[in-house]
Structure formats: structure tokens, C-alpha cells
Symmetry: none
Subunit: 208 residues, 4 copies
């Protein structure tokens, strides 16, 4: 019996030998994609299962019900957001201002690479209004982001790069607002302005 286990591990079947976590992951990924594509409104277990290449009953083998998929989707998205994208110029982020620019750059790159991530996130934000289980995760994501920005701002103030009268916490929030606003506005008016056009304004807000 233990031999067959070894055999299973050895063969790279990729269809049947996928283990529990991988199956779960593929179902979560399918759900995530469909949320971005069709919105929660049109999210169907059938579609999730078929995109993951399994029977609906299989979906229920891994997740008790549709709702049970959501925490997994949220986790997946948090992970996606925490993973830094391969930025065009990742090197040389020396000064805090550069690092803030770099963060804007990365966010733009991420949107370029994975726009569905931003759409799914927006869906989750709205859903969090009614589903209390989502809010904590989104809040935590915001907090991590906020902490990082606040750190950069404080650092920049210490170095004398940024205005001395800056409120790092408030400014961090404002930068987040700016970025969120950009992407949310983009949905309705995709051609209005380019993300990089915010750079000079950011500098104006930060520098003395």
C-alpha cells in the first residue's frame, strides 16, 4: 500500500492525483475569477465547478456550500495583494519618496497584470457591507498598506525629505484614498487620466 503512495507522488498526472489543497485552491481560483468576471450577482456553483473542471458534487465535497468558498477567495486575494508584482524597475528604491513612487508604480503594474484582482476586490468591498466575515480581512489589508505608507512617510520626515508638518497617519490614508479613487473612477471613465499623472500631485502633497 505504501508503494502505491510513492507511485502516486511520482507520477505527475495533474488530473486525478491533485491533492486536497490543490483541488480546494483550484475551486477557489475559479470562484475568484468568476466573481471578477460576472460579479457576485451571477456567481453560480455550477460555473465554479465546471471552470475547475469538476462535478458540482465535487465542489460540495470540498466546500459545504457556496458561502464557504468566500473566505478562501478572500485569502487568495490577500495573498495576491501581498505578493509584490515583478515591477519594471524594482531596484534602486532608495529614498522614501522613491519608494512611494515605486508603490504607485507597483500598484499600476499590478492592475495592468491582473485587473480582475481590483474588480473582485471591489465586489468584496461592497459585499462586506452585508457580510461581516469579509470586513476584517479587508480592513487588515488596508491596515498593512497604511502601516507601510505611514512608515515611509515618517522615515521621509526624519530624513527631511517630506514636509515637517505632515501627519503621517492621515497622509497615508489620503494616499490610499487617492489610489482607490483612481481605480474606482477608472471603472466608469477608463480614459480620463493616467495613473502616473498622480505622481506630481503626490509630490506636491508630500514635499514642502
Amino acid at each position: 500500500m505504501h508503494e502505491t503512495h510513492i507511485t502516486r507522488r511520482e507520477r505527475g498526472d495533474g488530473t486525478r492525483s491533485i491533492h486536497r489543497d490543490e483541488r480546494r485552491r483550484s475551486l477557489i481560483l475559479a470562484a475568484y475569477q468568476l466573481i471578477a468576471e460576472k460579479g457576485f450577482e451571477h456567481l453560480r456553483t455550477r460555473d465554479i465547478a465546471s471552470r475547475a473542471g469538476v462535478n458540482i458534487a465535487t465542489l460540495h465535497y470540498y466546500f459545504a456550500n457556496k458561502e464557504d468558498l468566500i473566505p478562501g477567495v478572500v485569502d487568495h486575494m490577500l495573498h495576491e495583494f501581498r505578493t509584490f508584482p515583478d515591477s519594471a524597475d524594482e531596484m534602486g528604491e532608495t529614498s522614501p519618496l522613491d519608494q512611494i513612487h515605486a508603490m504607485f508604480q507597483r500598484t499600476g503594474d499590478r492592475f495592468q497584470a491582473k485587473p480582475e484582482l481590483f474588480i473582485a476586490l471591489s465586489e468584496l468591498v461592497l459585499r462586506s457591507l452585508r457580510d461581516a466575515t469579509i470586513q476584517p480581512a479587508l480592513q487588515q489589508l488596508d491596515e498593512e498598506w497604511h502601516r507601510y505608507l505611514q512608515y515611509l512617510l515618517t522615515d521621509g520626515m526624519r530624513q527631511g525629505t517630506f514636509r515637517a508638518d505632515l501627519d503621517p497617519a492621515a497622509m497615508a490614508t489620503k494616499l490610499i484614498i487617492l489610489i482607490k479613487g483612481f481605480f474606482f473612477h477608472r471603472v466608469t471613465s477608463p480614459d480620463s487620466i493616467d495613473f502616473h499623472q498622480l505622481d506630481t500631485d503626490v509630490e506636491r502633497l508630500l514635499l514642502s
Copy 2:
């Protein structure tokens, strides 16, 4: 019940269509409220009808199907947004900067008075990603808003109040982004900052 029928027949057509419009309006209002409360995901024709105090069949008498309600909802929301709220200090908006401040103020007031308007709008924004019929209306709303801000900015530049190197079109967009970002961020982090804290930043961006 049969009396109203007789009465109605005796009345002219104008009255009948007014009644028709009222019914449609009340159904649209119910739909609008339920979209804000439960999201498109959980919008049900039965709920709409029962909130409007009519039978589901009646709903379908006035609207061929669920989708047909949406344009009405969008119209209602556009109207709501175009209607100025009773601002705390509506008088004395003299300078363009004051007027921009006043616009921010009004937006804050409107959110205070009708938060559901912002939630429903967010729902529509996301839905516009899949429903092409919504996008034009939202775009138009943005454009009106943009036009007004651009006008104020141009005016303020002419008066020398604002920086001479301002790009009115781009800055109008940025202000819109800032406001949208604020309210979208508010969903996840309702306690982060106060709307008025944006005022000084706005001035920093506009003034030289």
C-alpha cells in the same frame, strides 16, 4: 374597487398616466432602496413589489422584466445627484475655491443625508462592468461633475486664485478621484479620516 375604475374612466388620460408614473416611480424607488440595502446580488422582484406595496404581477405590468427597472433606478439616482442638498451654508459661495469647498461640503452632506445613494451608485458602477446600458449614464454623471469642476478651476485660474500651471481638466478628474476614493475607502475603514481633512490638501493642490 370597481368605483375607482369608473372614476378613472371618467377622468382624462392625463390623470391616468400620472397614476401610471407614480406606480412606476414607487417601484423604481423600492428597487433603488433594495439595491442599496442588499446589493444586486440579493435583489428580488418579490421584494421590490412588496416594498412598493403591490403584487409581483403588477410589477410586471409596469416593467416587462427585472432588467427594465434598472434604467429607471439609474435615472432616479442621477436626479438625486443632480439635486443639490440643503447645504448648511449654501449662501455666499463667491470665490471658486469657496465653491469647490462648498461642493465638497455638499457631497459630505449628501452622504450624511442619503448614504444609500452612494452604496447604490457603487453597486451600479460594478454592474456597469457587465451591463453596457448603465455605463453611459454613469459616464454622463461624471462628465457633468467634471465639467462643473473644470469650469470652477478655469475660473479660479483666470482670477489668479489657483496656480497658473494647473491643468483644469486633469485637476477636475483628480478631485473627483479624491472624493470617490474617500467614499469607497469609507466602506472598509469608516473611521479612518474625516471628509473635511481633505480640504487642506485640496488647497495645497490648487493654490500656488
Copy 3:
């Protein structure tokens, strides 16, 4: 409009114009029959609806779910049990002993006429072990039955027909037990003894 109502009442359509209660009743009746025929184990909403001649969705229009049908079924059965069957010799039940004999007779007649009633009741009895909502109704049925028998026994004792040392309450219960036992035994061994063979034993228990 009121005319059409009159029309509806006038025409004996029998299919569409059945009113709420009648529809509910027909669904309950179908459920009752199917419980007797197939047991709770194989009770299916589809079957109930189709036997009642309606769509499954119609079933759910009248009953929120399958469980919601059960109280109605119980009520129906209580009503059936409370309704006296057209007994062969209903007249001349003078003495309490005669009346007890008549009661046995009626029960036998009822079984002859509606054996499914006894089967469905047995199903309910077993179900009441797990479903607390059923127990009260069955208990009440037992109590009514018990009260009637106890009255007859007390009456017969007063008249001197029955043994003076009889405990009317206990004996009433024992008679019920005898009847229940007969019918429950009948399921497994339908040919063992005839119901009337209990008569002499009953007399032996009651008379001095």
C-alpha cells in the same frame, strides 16, 4: 372587476378556481396518502405535487417547505379520527358496555374503510420520537380517546354493569393499548386473529 369574481364563483371549473384552502387541502391529502403508501422515508415533494396535480413550485407557493406540510397532515388525520365512521349498527348504543363494544366496532370499521389512516398514524408515531412538534397532537388524540373511554367506564361502574374495583383511568389506557396492539400486530401478522375476538376478553376485564 367584481363581475369577474362572480363569474369565477359561478363556474364550476374545478381546476383553476380552487381556492387557497382547497389547494392546501389537496396537497395535504396527497402528502397524507403518500406517507401511508411509501412512508416518510420515501416521501418526495415531487410526488406530493404531482399527485395533487400541480407543479412542484406550486407546492412551495402554499407551503414553505416539506416540513410545513406535516402539521396539516396531522390535522387532517386528527379530523379523520374524530369523524365517526358510518358504523354498521350505530343505533341503540344504550349500555356503556354496548358503547365500548360499539367503539371497538367503529375502530374495526374505520380500519376496513381507511387502513391507510392507521399506517400513516404509525408513521407519525415513530416520527414523533424525533419531531417534537408532532407529539402534542398525538397525545391529545390519545387523551380524547382516553377521556371518552374513562367516561364510559365510570358510567358503567355507576350503573353497576362493570366491576366495582375497576380503575377507570387505568382500564381506559389498557383498552387503548389493546386496540393499538391489535393494529400494530396486524402489520406483521395480518391473519392471526380477528378484531372481534377481543370482545370476550374485554368483557372479562370489565365485568365482575
Copy 4:
């Protein structure tokens, strides 16, 4: 795990089939318990397997399907009923009347010790109405019981203890009916009378 495989191969066939029987037995026992606890209506293969501590697939390795478990359950119950419980006073059952009393006593004791046996039996009785394979077993159980009682009654008549005009076959059936009735009545009205209260009535029926 692979060790047991090796060991098992080394052992003789007799041991292997003992293991097989144990597994079957534990699955049957689990099924039996669950029938008593939840009724046939809610009997699930998964529950049976998990209570027996095995995988569902293992259940199907030993039993082709759910129905195949039932004969085993019936056998188990017959065995349980045939096994005399450790009665409080098992000694000194001399006279037939005493033996009949003792039988009542044993039945009461058995219910005290294993009420689930009576519930499961009731479930089987109802099921036997639709499942022809069950009926023979239950009938046989009744017959054994009946034979034993009839023997005691005949014996008692020969000894002159019981009434001379007794029909042993009919009276045996009536005693069975009384006992069945008692336990079936008990489901709905658990507090009505005590089992021992039937003793005097039994004597009245048997003695002259």
C-alpha cells in the same frame, strides 16, 4: 499499515474471514443504532460508515448497497430478541403463570436495558409494509414468541392453573398484542401506565 497486510497474508484464511465478519458486524451494529436513533427516513450510508469508524467505500466493500445491510440488521435484532436478558429474578420460574409473568418481566427489563431495540423493531415493522424481504423475519419472530406462549398456556391448562375454556393459540396472540400495544402506546404517552399494571389483567384473562 503495510505490516498488517503482511501479517494478514501470513495468517490463515479463517482469521481473515473473522476480520471480515467483525467489520460486517460493526457496520450492521452502526446501521441498527442509527435506525433506532434517526429512523429509516434519516439513515445515511455516510453516518453508518463513520459510526463504524470506516470509510464509505469500505461499507460498500462489505455490502453491495444500503439495502444489503438490512437483512443483517434484522438478524442482529432477532438475535437480540432471542437472547434472554439478565432478568432480576430469573430463578424459580416454576408454574406456567409464573413463567408468563417472567416473560412480561423480561420484556420490561429488555426495554429498560435496550429501548432502541423496540424502536428499531417498530421501524422495521413499518418498513415491512413495503419491503417484502423483512416480513418473513418479523413473522418468524412473532411465531417463535407465539409458540412459546402457546406452549406455556397449554401447559398451564393441563396443570389446571388456567381456565379450561382457554384457546391457547388465540390467547397467546392476545398476550403478544397486549405487549406490543403497551410499547407502541408508550411512544406517544410514556407516562400513562406501568408495564406491571398489566399483570393483574393478564391473570384475569388466564385464570378462571
